[in-house]
Each structure stands twice: as structure tokens, then as C-alpha cells.
């Protein structure tokens, strides 16, 4: 042991042995019986029964053992002072005293609300943006929404729209947007594309359209969606050494580089008896969609696309333990003479499918997948149906295919992982963070989307409708 260690021990030992705390002082005796207690008579208040209290003395050994802690803790205590002063200043400005509003967000003029947005994914990198919404645009039941975001992988997005409640059963949404993703990935086409053939391209999308929704019953509704989309896939200005053109020379996907424009007409049927989208403990979510795309760019591209998504929420042994199951798929049936270009292919896209692999890892004319999640609550803010945090374990499996004959369990990719899901009030989904694992590594996702119950977002939210059929 070093000499300073022995010196420290010696000091501690001496201090411990020699410790003699100083008792509180009291004046000389003067008793006067007052009131009989369980101890016998308790004397009245006099000088001899009254004392000025003081803290119990700090033993020398306490100073000694706490010395390293006090020293190492200096920067943390300084940091705490800064944080405390900042929070107190924000509190003095009344930032925490905003009156309760039905919708979250920082109030803006005109009744608009501002919320920060952001997240992380391997496709977009770290995203930062903002949502501007109006919960009662022009009239109760109407909404307006705008989302802008940029990211560390040079991607920019803008999207938004309006929701108009026409009557009790009908609603109209108008929306549009654009996205510029300079580092979209392409590994090759088909279920057997290879990891080492990762390449990059620039995907630029523009879209605008409408949704007309009709409520058919308490849990079912149908939707007619018509939208125009213009997609442009080209060489990326980043990571040029891994450009798609270079990596897949001689096997470039159809439509690369190139543009594709056209109109999609789609009919969806939804059944959702789960009631909430954050922590459903029972019920079913079903979606069937048929879409027809016709090119307006002069090409002979037109195709039908069928999509299904079936989800079931099964309560388990304890309160709010849920097994969520999902089966989904999509299939493009070309009708015209032109091949389906890269920009229109079905691809695996996180967090909606195969959460343990890169987004757009697989491309094909169709995909098929299964997911299972075991969910359990780990924290609730107050009661069981309010703000809280769930943990979940998941496994996803699936494949893409061009022909039905390619569908085989041997071609299925298996991924698994875990995550945390934050619930807002009334069990509604707020945000999540999940880590997925597959044969090709791990994938982190942090954001405001989830694999289950995502299909319900309408055009108003400005999500790219060509990505998620």
C-alpha cells in the first residue's frame, strides 16, 4: 500500500477512537412538576429543562469517508446547481404553469400548437423537427397539421394537411408533402439480396391527395384514397463510393435512375376494436386495401396492389400483460407492360416490418410477415390507465418476393428485440425506443411510430403514402 493510504487509515482510526461529541448545554437545576406522563411528572418549561437544539455532531470518520465523495462530486454538484437554477428560472417565468389544454403543445397565435418532433433511425439518422397543429381548425372536429424535419443523414421532410369532419360518419382529409432522402439504401432485389452489397441512392418524393373516410359502424370504417405521387430516384451526392450505380453495375434495378409519376386510387377497409393505440389489452385491428396505380409520365406502368394487415391483442395472466400478434402482406400485380420501377417496389421499412434489419433492406413485388410482441407495464404515472411506460419483447419474421413460388420459411428473415413504449394519457401511444437484432447486426429506432396500428394515419399527417401501401 502507498504511504498516503496508511496515513489516511491512521487518521481515520485516531479520529474514530477519539471522537467525543459535545452535548447541548443546559442551565442549573430548577424543577417544577407540571403534568404526569407515562414517564412520570414532566417538569414545566424552565431554564434547566429547555435547551437550544443543535445538529448531531458530524463524526470525524464521516468527514474522512466522505472526503473522496465530496471531491469527486464537485462537478456533479455544480451541474446540479446549474440545473436547479435553470429549472427555477423557468418556473418563475411560468413555463410550467400553462393552463391545461385538450391537446399538448406550445400555444401559438391563432390557436395553433407547436410540438417538437424527432427521433432516430438508421435510414434517417437523428431527426429533428417540429409539428404544428390546430385541434379545431375553422370549426370543431376539423384539424390542421404540418410537420417539418431534417436529419443528420441529410434527409428533409415536409408534410401536412387538413381534416374536415363532414358529418357524423364522413370525413375528408387533404394532404401532401415531400421528402428528400439522399441516403436511401439498396442491397439488391429479392429475398436473397446480400448484406455486403449495400449501396446508396437519392430518393425524392412528392405527393398530394385526399382521403374520404366513412364510418360504417362503431369499429369499422372504410376509406377512399386518391393521390398523385412523383418519385425520383437518382445517384446520391453522399457516400459516392457505395453508390448504387457502382455497387450494382450490370444489375441496376428497373427505373434507376428515373422518375415515376402517377395517380393511385385506393380503397381501404378497417376494423379496429382495440380502442386505444398505445396499450390495447384486447381486440383486433384489421385492414384490407386494394390500390390501382396508373402512370401519368407517359410510361405504360400500371398495377394493382393488395395489402392486408391483421393484428390481435390477447390479454395474458396479469393486468395489462398483452401478447400482440400481427400478420401482414402486400402484393403488386403489374397490369401494364412496363416493369415496376425501384421507387414503386414494396420494401421492408422500419418500424413497420422486420425491425432487426436496415430499412429498405429488401425489395420486391410483395412482402409477407409475422410479428409478435409481449408487452408489460413497468411504470404508471398515477393510475393504470394514464401516462406510463411499457416494456416489450418482439420477434419479427418475413420476406419479400417477386413470385409466389419464392415464399418459403427458409427465405424468412428472423429478427427479435426489445423496446420501451411511452404512453400518453388514456393509453394512447406517445413515443418509443426499440433495439432490434438480426443476423446482420442491431438496429436502434427512436421515434413516434410503431409497428402495430400504424396504418390508420391519414393524408393529413403528411406521411409518404408510397412507402406504406
Amino acid at each position: 500500500m502507498r504511504w498516503w493510504g496508511w496515513l489516511w487509515l491512521l487518521l481515520a482510526g485516531v479520529a474514530t477512537a477519539a471522537d467525543q461529541p459535545v452535548p447541548p448545554t443546559a442551565a442549573p437545576d430548577s424543577l417544577r412538576t407540571s403534568r404526569t406522563s407515562y414517564w412520570g411528572p414532566i417538569p414545566a418549561r424552565t431554564d434547566s429543562t429547555t435547551a437550544r437544539l443543535d445538529n448531531p455532531p458530524t463524526r470525524t470518520w464521516e468527514h474522512v469517508v466522505n472526503a473522496p465523495y465530496d471531491l469527486v462530486g464537485i462537478p456533479f454538484r455544480l451541474g446540479n446547481v446549474v440545473i436547479r437554477e435553470t429549472v427555477e428560472k423557468m418556473d418563475s417565468w411560468g413555463l410550467f404553469d400553462l393552463p391545461p389544454v385538450p391537446e399538448p403543445g406550445l400555444p401559438l397565435p391563432g390557436g395553433f400548437l407547436l410540438l417538437p418532433d424527432g427521433g432516430y433511425s438508421s435510414l434517417m439518422g437523428w431527426e429533428v423537427g417540429a409539428n404544428i397543429r390546430h385541434p379545431a381548425f375553422l370549426a370543431e372536429g376539423n384539424k390542421a397539421y404540418l410537420n417539418l424535419a431534417t436529419s443528420t443523414r441529410h434527409a428533409d421532410k415536409i408534410g401536412g394537411g387538413f381534416h374536415f369532419k363532414l358529418d357524423q360518419d364522413w370525413a375528408l382529409e387533404l394532404g401532401g408533402g415531400g421528402a428528400d432522402i439522399p441516403l436511401a439504401r439498396y442491397f439488391g432485389r429479392g429475398y436473397d439480396s446480400r448484406e455486403h452489397e449495400e449501396s446508396y441512392y437519392n430518393r425524392i418524393a412528392r405527393w398530394a391527395g385526399l382521403d374520404l373516410t366513412r364510418q360504417l359502424g362503431s369499429v369499422t370504417h372504410t376509406r377512399l384514397r386518391v393521390f398523385y405521387s412523383h418519385l425520383d430516384v437518382r445517384d446520391s451526392g453522399y457516400n459516392t463510393e457505395a453508390a448504387l450505380r457502382l455497387v450494382h453495375t450490370g444489375d441496376l434495378p428497373a427505373g434507376f435512375p428515373g422518375k415515376s409519376s402517377g395517380v393511385t386510387t385506393q380503397v381501404d377497409w378497417f376494423l379496429d376494436s382495440s380502442r386505444v393505440d398505445g396499450r390495447p389489452t384486447h381486440g383486433t385491428f384489421k385492414r384490407l386495401a386494394v390500390a390501382y396505380f396508373q402512370a401519368t409520365d407517359g410510361s405504360e406502368l400500371d398495377f394493382l396492389q393488395y395489402t392486408f394487415d391483421v393484428q390481435r391483442f390477447l390479454p395474458l395472466w396479469h393486468t395489462k400483460r398483452v401478447l400482440a400478434l400481427r400478420a401482414y402482406g402486400s402484393r403488386i400485380l403489374p397490369a401494364g407492360g412496363a416493369p415496376v420501377p425501384l421507387s414503386r417496389l414494396v420494401s421492408t421499412y422500419r418500424p413497420y416490418s422486420l425491425r432487426g434489419v436496415e430499412s429498405h433492406r429488401y425489395y420486391g413485388l410483395g412482402n409477407l410477415g409475422l410479428s409478435a410482441e409481449y408487452r408489460w407495464p413497468i411504470w404508471v404515472a398515477k393510475g393504470r390507465s394514464q401516462t406510463g411506460l411499457d416494456a416489450y419483447l418482439f420477434t419479427d419474421t418475413g420476406q419479400v418476393y417477386d413470385h409466389g413460388g419464392e415464399i418459403s420459411l427458409e427465405h424468412f428473415v428472423w429478427t427479435h428485440g426489445f423496446g420501451l413504449r411511452l404512453m400518453g394519457s388514456e393509453d394512447n401511444f406517445a413515443a418509443n425506443v426499440e433495439l432490434g437484432f438480426g443476423d446482420e447486426g442491431s438496429q436502434l429506432q427512436l421515434g413516434f411510430s410503431q409497428a402495430f396500428q400504424f396504418s390508420g394515419k391519414g393524408m393529413m399527417y403528411g406521411k409518404d403514402p408510397t412507402h406504406r401501401p
Binding site: 496508511w6 443546559a26 435547551a51 391545461p100
Partner: protein, 562 residues
């Protein structure tokens, strides 16, 4: 001759030596004995200038309480050493006398813990059992609408200002009643509390004062009129028969200074010398609050008031707002309250690692059937050692075994009749609610008392009588044990002021808690104190010892050591 090589590394040897030195010195040292009267009163009411009003916001407070405080406590080495020593991390309390009793002060006045109290004293509490004076209509001088519950400020016939608080519309009859009951219980324990009473009134008993305003959540202040007063009352869902019911809380006399912290000192109060986390008065709240499930012990439910003329007064420390007790909560009763912190990392990590395969006990908690005035409050799932407030409390985190024992001792004095008398002041509509609450409070009391009386032998209230030292076995005296098969033993020695130099006599077994001192060893100038060590055996072996110290020159009991 070959040398034997040392196999223990130098660093580890040093660490072990250090720990031995520490433990040999004892992490909890005792004060020297003095042949002087026991201190019963704190000199903490000296005249001081009026301190500044201070009330931190709930967010700054919560951020420190949930993060900075627990992290600091977790990593502090001296707390770990004390915990290794006896399982508790707190330092000795600074507001207790040599007998282990809390000293009367501006924080606390010994009541049921020291003196027999009759039911009248319990129900009288801080006074004015009839509530606001009714010689004239109550003049409304302000109102708050929205938020969890509405409330009115009124001035009664005597000119006193009261706050009228109503229950949440969805849960009429819960918080108002529990607030009154718990107020009386805490007052009987010894805390300073306002006058809280359940009051019944009609619209004609109210009169809108001139200039009275109503604060709305989004609009701010608007004039209060008879019309909107009626609307507010209608919406409060507080009607019972032809009366409205509310909790009337009298404003404390004096100048409000804001809440007191559970840690540190009030810097501008020279009388505040003992750090709050070292006050048994505040640390014992963990036991008292567990009894009635007073989970909402945040600092904002306390109030310092300056009593007296400016420059000639002092600060008095009060507990206020007991509406979130007995399983109720302002907005809606919540099962989790009292079982873990609002953000409890230990529980969160535990649930994460156990993959949800285990269910928390409190999840299955149900309100008693047919008793809509009672919240989530039971005995079966109650664990005296596992109870936690919603927001971490620095003083509670420093609870020692002596603090817990003292609190249990105070609680053990509550009889069923006294508890029933307090609960009946809640004016519950359903007599079965009274029975349920009394039964539950008694059950929780029993769990608390049995736990702490097992931690510390409950041999107490030593007194000298006729040449003997008599004491009480509180487990028997309070009815938690029938006394069958109980025996005691004692031994004596003479010691010096440092409690050293004992040469013990042989153990003497007794059937009753009484030690004959006639054969006590002689004391002298070098060892002027007689120490009597007592133990109890209830059939499971002898307990730890409790030592009573007697100063022979004066013949007075000067200290008790547990």
C-alpha cells in the same frame, strides 16, 4: 527458513483494516451522561425578524426530490457505513432528549405519545369542532374553479378566514372526510395542524363578498356573482340531502412564509438549527404517514407561519392538507399510492428484469364494496417496511430504527375508541364506512407496532419507585401480547459519563418489569452512574438490551439507550 508469502493484496488489507477501525469506533456514538434534568423543551421561539416568503414551484421541487436527492443519498459513503452497521442510513436525531423522546418545540408538541388522551381531546384537535362561526352568513372573498376541485375562501362571523374545499365531482364524500380524520390523528400525535372540519351548509349560508372574484383556468379572474356561485356549487356534486358538504380549513394565524423543506434549514430563521433531515419529527412521518397512507407528503403540504409581532415573533412549523389520505386522492383514487415512489427506479428496473411475470400486490387492490366514501385502503397488502410516499422525502429517507420505534410507540397509544372518535368526525354518511376505516386503521396500526417493537425491544417509560426501577413492556401494556410466557431479566453496573467501565452483575430474571435496586453495585466519583440493562424473552430467546442510566448523586433517570 522460507518466508511465507502474503496472499492478501495490500489494497484489500488496507480496506479491511479501515472498516474494522470504523466499526470498532461505532458509526452511532452516544453522548456523554450528565447528572442534570432531562431536556423537554426546545429553545426555538426566540424573537427573530420576519423571514422571507419562499415557495418553490412543484417542478423545481420534484426535479430535486426525484433525482438530485436520491442520487446524492445513494452515493454518500457515510450512509453506507451506517447501513452496514445497523441497517439504517440516518444519523442520530437532533431533536430528541436523552430518554429518546422528541423535545417539545415549534415543530411538535407531545400529546398522545406521552400523556393519556381521552376521546374528547382527540376529537377537539386544534379546536373549533363546530367549524366556521355561523353568527352571520359566510362571506365569500375568493374562489378557485377548475383544476382538480373548486374551492372558496370565506370569512366567518368572527372574521376568521377559512378555505372551503369540495370533493372531486366523480368521488363525492371522500377527500373532505379523510382530510378531517387524518388532521385529527396527526394533531393527536403532536404535529401542528390547522383546524379542518366537515361542514354542511346551504346556499343561504353563503354571501358573495364585495369585489369577490373567481379564478378560472383559462380566463383568469372574473367577478363572482350569485348566479355563477350557484352554478359552481351545482357542478361540484357536493350535495347531500338539502345541504352542501365541504371541508372547511381555517387559515393559520400568523404570516405565511411558505412550506418547509424536508432537507436543510431555513436560512433566515436563526431558531432553525437542526437540519430537517435530522429531525425525528420529520423522519417519523414515514411511519405516521404509512398508517393513514398519507402519500402526498411533499413540502407543499407544510406551512411555516411567523407568529407574533414583526421582530418579536418566531416561526411555527405546520403540516397542512390531509385530503390525500386513507386511500383517497384529489382527482381520483389511485392504487399505486403508498406502495412506491411516483418514479421508483428500483420498482421499474425490477419489473423490467422480471419481464412482467410478477404482479405487484397493489394492482389487485379493490375499494370496499358498497362504501363509495372509502378509497384504496386496506390491511392485507400493507407492508410497514415497504411504504413510500409519492415524492421521495429526504427526512423519511434518514429514518433510523430509533425513529421508527418512537413513532410506533406513539401510534401504539391510540385506542380503538380514540380512532373511532376521530373517524366519526369525518361525518361519513354510511356507518359501515366508519367501521371499515376503524378496522383498517387498527389493522395497519398493529402491523406497524409489531414490526418496530420487534426491531427495538419495547421496554420503556422507566421510572424510579420505592427503591426499584419499574418500566413498561409496551407490547403487553398496549394489548399486542397477552403476557403469557413473558419473562424479563436485568443486570446492573456502574459507569462513568462516557458509559465505560462497566462490571456487570449477574443476570437476574423477573416475571414482571421491575428491577430491585437495593442490591445495585456502589457507585463513586469515578463511576457516578448506575446502568440497568433489561431484556425480554417472549419464548423466542432474549431480546437485545435496553439500558437505563441513573445518576446516583441525584437519583434521577438521565438517559435510556436502545
Amino acid at each position: 527458513m522460507a518466508k511465507i508469502r502474503r496472499t492478501v493484496p495490500d489494497g484489500l488489507r488496507g480496506l479491511l483494516l479501515f472498516l474494522l477501525l470504523l466499526l470498532a469506533g461505532s458509526a452511532h456514538g452516544e453522548e456523554p451522561l450528565r447528572d442534570a434534568p432531562v431536556i423537554w423543551y426546545a429553545d426555538d421561539a426566540r424573537p427573530i425578524p420576519v423571514p422571507a416568503f419562499r415557495e418553490p414551484g412543484i417542478v423545481p421541487f420534484a426535479s430535486q426530490a426525484f433525482v438530485a436527492g436520491p442520487v446524492s443519498r445513494f452515493f454518500r459513503p457515510s450512509r453506507l457505513v451506517r447501513k452496514l452497521d445497523d441497517g439504517y442510513a440516518g444519523r442520530p436525531a437532533g431533536d430528541v432528549n436523552s430518554l429518546g423522546e422528541v423535545i417539545n418545540s415549534t415543530w411538535f408538541t407531545n400529546r398522545i405519545g406521552l400523556y393519556p388522551l381521552d376521546q374528547t381531546a382527540v376529537t377537539l384537535g386544534p379546536g373549533q369542532p363546530e367549524g366556521p362561526d355561523r353568527s352571520r352568513p359566510w362571506e365569500i372573498i375568493g374562489a378557485k374553479v377548475g383544476g382538480v376541485t373548486p374551492g372558496f375562501r370565506i370569512r366567518d362571523g368572527r372574521g376568521d378566514v377559512w378555505l372551503l374545499k369540495f370533493d372531486p365531482p366523480a368521488y363525492p364524500g371522500m377527500s373532505t372526510r379523510s382530510g378531517v380524520v387524518s388532521n385529527l390523528l396527526f394533531h393527536a400525535m403532536g404535529y401542528n395542524t390547522p383546524v379542518d372540519r366537515v361542514v354542511f351548509f346551504q346556499l343561504d349560508d353563503l354571501q358573495v363578498g364585495e369585489g369577490a372574484t373567481m379564478r378560472l383556468p383559462r380566463t383568469g379572474k372574473v367577478p363572482l356573482t350569485a348566479a355563477n356561485l350557484d352554478s359552481v356549487l351545482q357542478n361540484s356534486n357536493s350535495r347531500e340531502g338539502d345541504h352542501y358538504v365541504a371541508l372547511a380549513s381555517k387559515f393559520l394565524a400568523g404570516k405565511p412564509l411558505g412550506p418547509f423543506k424536508s432537507q436543510g434549514l431555513r436560512e433566515d430563521d436563526p431558531n432553525d438549527n437542526v437540519r430537517h433531515e435530522n429531525r425525528r419529527t420529520l423522519r417519523a412521518l414515514k411511519v405516521f404517514a404509512a398508517w393513514v397512507n398519507h402519500f402526498d407528503t411533499k413540502m407543499h403540504n407544510s406551512l411555516d407561519v411567523y407568529v407574533g409581532e414583526p421582530g418579536a415573533g418566531y416561526v411555527e412549523h405546520n403540516l397542512i392538507d390531509f385530503a390525500s389520505t386513507l386511500g383517497t386522492f384529489g382527482a381520483t383514487p389511485v392504487k399505486r399510492f403508498g406502495y412506491e415512489f411516483g418514479i421508483d427506479l428500483g420498482s421499474i428496473i425490477g419489473r423490467l428484469l422480471t419481464l412482467g411475470l410478477m404482479e405487484d400486490d397493489w394492482v389487485q387492490l379493490e375499494r370496499p364494496e358498497g362504501l363509495d366514501e372509502v378509497g384504496y385502503f386496506d390491511v392485507e397488502t400493507f407492508d410497514p417496511t415497504g411504504w413510500e410516499p409519492d415524492i421521495p422525502h429526504s427526512a423519511m429517507a434518514n429514518l433510523t430504527r430509533e425513529d421508527g420505534y418512537w413513532a410506533a410507540k406513539v401510534l401504539s397509544h391510540f385506542t380503538e375508541a380514540q380512532i373511532r372518535a376521530a373517524v366519526e368526525q369525518g361525518r361519513y354518511r354510511n356507518p359501515r364506512a366508519v367501521d371499515y376505516l376503524v378496522r383498517t386503521l387498527r389493522g395497519r396500526q398493529g402491523k406497524i407496532v409489531r414490526h418496530w417493537f420487534a426491531e427495538v425491544p419495547p421496554l420503556d417509560f422507566f421510572r424510579l419507585a420505592d427503591g426499584a426501577l419499574v418500566f413498561e413492556d409496551l407490547l403487553v401494556a398496549r394489548g399486542y401480547h397477552d403476557g403469557q410466557g413473558v419473562r424479563y431479566r436485568s443486570r446492573l453496573a456502574s459507569v462513568n459519563a462516557g458509559r465505560e467501565g462497566a462490571t456487570w452483575t449477574a443476570w437476574q430474571t423477573m416475571a414482571v418489569p421491575r428491577v430491585d435496586l437495593r442490591a445495585a453495585p456502589a457507585t463513586g466519583a469515578e463511576r457516578p452512574f448506575l446502568v440497568v440493562e433489561c431484556q425480554v424473552d417472549r419464548g423466542a430467546g432474549w431480546s437485545g438490551g435496553v439500558k437505563a442510566y441513573i445518576a446516583r448523586p441525584s437519583g434521577r433517570l438521565v438517559a435510556v439507550q436502545r
